[in-house]
Amino acid sequence: MLVVSDLSKTYAPGGEPAMAGLDFTVGEREFVCIVGSSGCGKTTMLRCLSGLIPPTEGSIELEGRAVQGPPEDMAYVFQDYSRSLLPWQTVAGNVSFPLKYKGLSKAEAAAATEEALAAVGLADRGRSYPWQLSGGMQQRVAIARALAYKPRILLMDEPFASVDAQTRAELEDLLLDIWRRFEITVLFVTHDIDEAVYLSQRVLVLHKPAHVFEAIDVDLPAERDQMDTKKLPRFGELRSRVLASLRAPDTTSA
């Protein structure tokens, strides 16, 4: 569904590349996590994939079509929820904000908003303002906004990095639930190895400048549980593998 081939990005001409020869594919309804140490070019990669900035080289294809600007079938969930939500709009206003420009009628937008808010468990908070909610709830609003947009693929940039551990676990399970129910594809960037292994079907390990160093299949049972899954010996093995891969000296340098 998403085919990324030989993607490179250099900001200043002649400068160091932020991304070099990034290659991977994401299948229909797959849940893929991307891990990499900080500063390895993850954000650059996401901005390219989402069509916000053009790559220097290479191509991105979403469902067979080249990505040249923000695609219609994609929604982006930002790490910093407090900055991506509009403080002058209510929760419902934030969720429905993009829908009007997608061509939905008022009634359709309202219905989609309601459905999305219900899916993240905020059905009764539509009239609050984002800043009246806790951090975890705010990120739920951002996820609801993405859901209401009805994307085929969800791009998530460390969405749970700034919430506390308990909330984070709840949000992870919420996301898995949504992923199944809404039958969407998720590309999830994180620097948390546990999170990556717990959530995904496949982990892509990024090395600097952003390129895929190793792809690790997560062969854990489909049904995940914060307690049980993380107790599995296999979970520990995968964890160590990802960690080793992250720390491995780069031999495949592009």
């Binding site: 932020a18 650059t44 900035i53 952003a210």
Partner: protein
């Protein structure tokens, strides 16, 4: 102890004035207005494209802007789009300004305007600073005066010009009184807010380390109020200049304002009049710029002056 460690620091007074841009937006010079989009804010964009180069770019661009605007004005006047009787072409204003500088004619009135400005602000600060510190640190005084300060602040100081002329006559005293009255409020209010809004954590820390009251005031409260006070002084500087020139224009106390009206009534001396206006603008620009430079130096520890990061 570092007052800058306060989260979401200071100026709770300035509630109405939020900002996301860089701290030094008011820069009279090539100061950055907002973080460079897309680069500095992102962790894997190019870092530090070279600060010196960025500054040079800004300076060059600003210079080009100045030259461009002047050229445009010249063109507009020459083409007759702006009547020459209203606005002479810059190619006449600048030589007129240069003549004022060369002949030394400029410096008398500029000095007189500055004299009123300095004396007025000094008088205001001499009263407002101690009073502000007292009101800000004594809770009862703060509560007693708050309403009155809120009420007196928005009163336009120029309303007092007729009364001041009557009481003092059309002389330097009147100008100094007017400036002192007008600049008293911003200095006082900023001082009060600065003192009163000292971060409680900071106060508690100081107390828990057993600092005596005097030391707390000098080492903790005053430094953390300093940015407010500096702001008050900068506001005062701008108001002071406005009032000085108003007094000169309206009442005729000597200074730049009188030179402007003289040039105007001399007839056919538009270029000289605009040269004086240019002088007034440059004076304001320089005063603001130098105050900011001092502030930046003295308050370098303050968050709003630290680096480009927010």
């Amino acid at each position: 102890m570092q007052p800058s460690a306060v989260p979401a620091p200071v100026h709770r007074g300035e509630v109405s004035t939020p900002a996301a841009g860089s701290p030094r937006t008011a820069g009279a010079g090539p100061t950055p207005v907002a973080g460079p989009r897309g680069s500095a804010g992102r962790n894997d964009g190019p870092k530090e494209p070279g600060r010196a180069r960025a500054r040079l770019y800004r300076f060059g661009l600003g210079l080009a802007g100045v030259v461009g605007v002047i050229a445009l004005l010249e063109l507009v006047v020459r083409l007759g789009l702006l009547p020459e009787a209203w606005f002479p072409p810059p190619s006449e204003i600048f030589p007129a300004f240069a003549r004022l500088v060369v002949s030394g004619e400029l410096f008398g009135p500029v000095g007189q305007t500055l004299q009123g400005w300095v004396l007025g602000i000094l008088a205001a600060a001499a009263v407002a600073l101690p009073l502000g510190i007292a009101i800000g640190s004594i809770e009862l005084a703060h509560r007693l005066t708050r309403f009155m300060l809120e009420f007196l602040r928005p009163i336009p100081p120029v309303a007092l010009i007729p009364a001041a002329v009557l009481i003092f006559g059309s002389n330097l005293d009147m100008k100094v009184f007017l400036i002192a009255f007008g600049t008293f409020w911003p200095i006082l209010l900023q001082t009060v807010y600065g003192i009163h809004d000292t971060d409680p954590t900071l106060r508690d820390t100081a107390r828990s380390y057993g600092l005596p009251r005097r030391a707390r005031l000098v080492r903790i409260v005053l430094p953390s109020a300093l940015p407010y006070i500096a702001t008050g002084l900068r506001i005062a500087s701008a108001i002071g200049l406005i009032l000085a020139i108003t007094a000169e224009l309206v009442v005729g106390t000597p200074g730049i304002g009188v030179s402007i009206t003289d040039a105007q009534s001399a007839g056919d001396a538009q270029d000289v009049m605009y040269a004086w206006i240019l002088a007034a603008g440059l004076l304001g620009f320089l005063l603001n710029g130098s105050l900011q430079a001092v502030e930046r130096r003295v308050l370098h520890w303050h968050t709003s002056f630290r680096g480009e990061a927010r």
